[in-house]
Amino acid sequence: MPRNRVTAVLGSSVPRPRPQPFPSRNRSTLRRRVIVGILVLLSLVLITISFRAGSGGPVHSVKGAGATVLRPFEVAAERVARPFRDVYGYFASLVHVKRENSRLKQQVNELRQKELLGQSALEQNREFRKQLKFVDSPRFPADYAPVNTRIISWATEFEQQVSIAAGSDSGIKQDTPIVTNYGLVGRVTDLTGSSAQVTLLTDENSAVPARDQTTGAIGLVRHGQGENSLLLDFVRKESNVQRGDVIVTAGTRSKQYPSLFPGGIAIGVVTSVGQSDTALYKQIQVDPYVDFSALDAVTALITHKRTPKAP
């Protein structure tokens, strides 16, 4: 007879064996519910404190500790994954390579001509500034020291934020601008000694005063409708912004609201300009130079020059 077979006789007083419960059922229902209730309550309390505390207090210290613990592992995982991501990126980019090549060749010719004109204008500008003894706010890139660092983690699809492997120990502060070779990426919104959170330009809470380099029209760059798309908002209808115009950061334009970003950092190129009879401003779509989904390394711009403030 098999070991776990039990024989019962009908009508006898032999007690029927009680069914073996699933191990987790050994714990009482009440205990289980209490544990889950406590965890849910704790989560809600943490959310509330986290929301009210902002960027300081004990919750921030907990976050900092968590980020510090994870940092070396994230750096290691990122290093391991990088070759695979590069291979994927290489094959993915092959799909559009031919069309992109011809577009870039055309662009190189145009830019070569513009560069010659730009060099001469730059020299002239430098000379005029010297003659005028012009007092200026920090200028990009001359007055900024770069801190080059790597992206170590990405937030969820809900948030347009990344973490970088450098923090206040490297001189990074709250609101430090973050760029790549291609253009503006975003700004630091939270940091610890060894890492920092960067809110990207494509985040719903980001807004950057920007300028059309060709016409000088001023607006505010913020997130657009699709992924990796931006809008240049609050540009007056009289402005003659054209498709293909380059959009750069405007720097500080108002003494009440100083910009966090120095002027002259490239943001993107205008892809479409529209306006309706009822709207007060033009609807301008901007294609960012930075590919926010393929960020790898970024540069934090540190300046020790004080931004002049209005009296």
């Binding site: 019962a8 889950v36 976050k63």
Partner: protein
């Protein structure tokens, strides 16, 4: 039990790191695979509701801290995900082959929608159109991850023995 907890903790810590530094940036047909959620569901199915809830809370907290997010946000969602999956594993889903696949599909949809609602309630950006457009591919990617992750988790945390007793009635 302590050995189980240690193994699960090690696995989930590794998964948090991989999720934050690698998987969070993976975008395939607008879908974002969530390795952390998939692993948590598998662990909860094998180890029950309380284990799932505690594991969900812990990894959620770690994930929130790792990305400077709102502390408690992922912890709340993953606690509930772990608890419900664990209950399903203890009751209806026990010994059913389709349980992991079904759990992942349902929990992924619920997780995404709950996250959206919670973000909306907290006054944070909640791009519903973007999330609903990506929901199908995300579920599909999570389902693809389910098979290897469940088999690995099952190997690591052996399913508890369910001793069936046969009763022979003698007249």
């Amino acid at each position: 039990m302590p050995a189980d907890a240690a193994k699960a903790a090690g696995l989930l810590f590794l998964v948090v790191v991989v999720q934050l530094s690698v998987m969070a940036n993976v975008d395939i047909l607008s879908g974002h695979p969530n390795l952390l959620l998939v692993t948590l569901v598998c662990v909860s199915l094998l180890r029950g509701a309380v284990f799932g809830a505690v594991a969900g809370f812990s990894v959620g907290l770690l994930a929130d801290a790792g990305v400077f997010g709102t502390l408690g946000f992922s912890a709340l969602l993953l606690t509930l995900a772990g608890y419900w999956t664990g209950r399903y594993g203890e009751t209806t889903g026990r010994d059913r082959a389709h349980a992991p696949v079904l759990s992942i599909a349902v929990i992924t949809v619920l997780y995404q929608i709950s996250a959206l609602v919670l973000r909306y309630m907290l006054g944070e950006p909640a791009p519903a159109h973007h999330i609903f457009a990506a929901l199908g591919p995300t579920v599909l990617l999570n389902l693809i991850l389910t098979v290897p992750v469940y088999s690995l988790t099952r190997r690591l945390l052996r399913p508890r023995e369910w001793v069936t007793r046969e009763v022979r009635l003698l007249g």
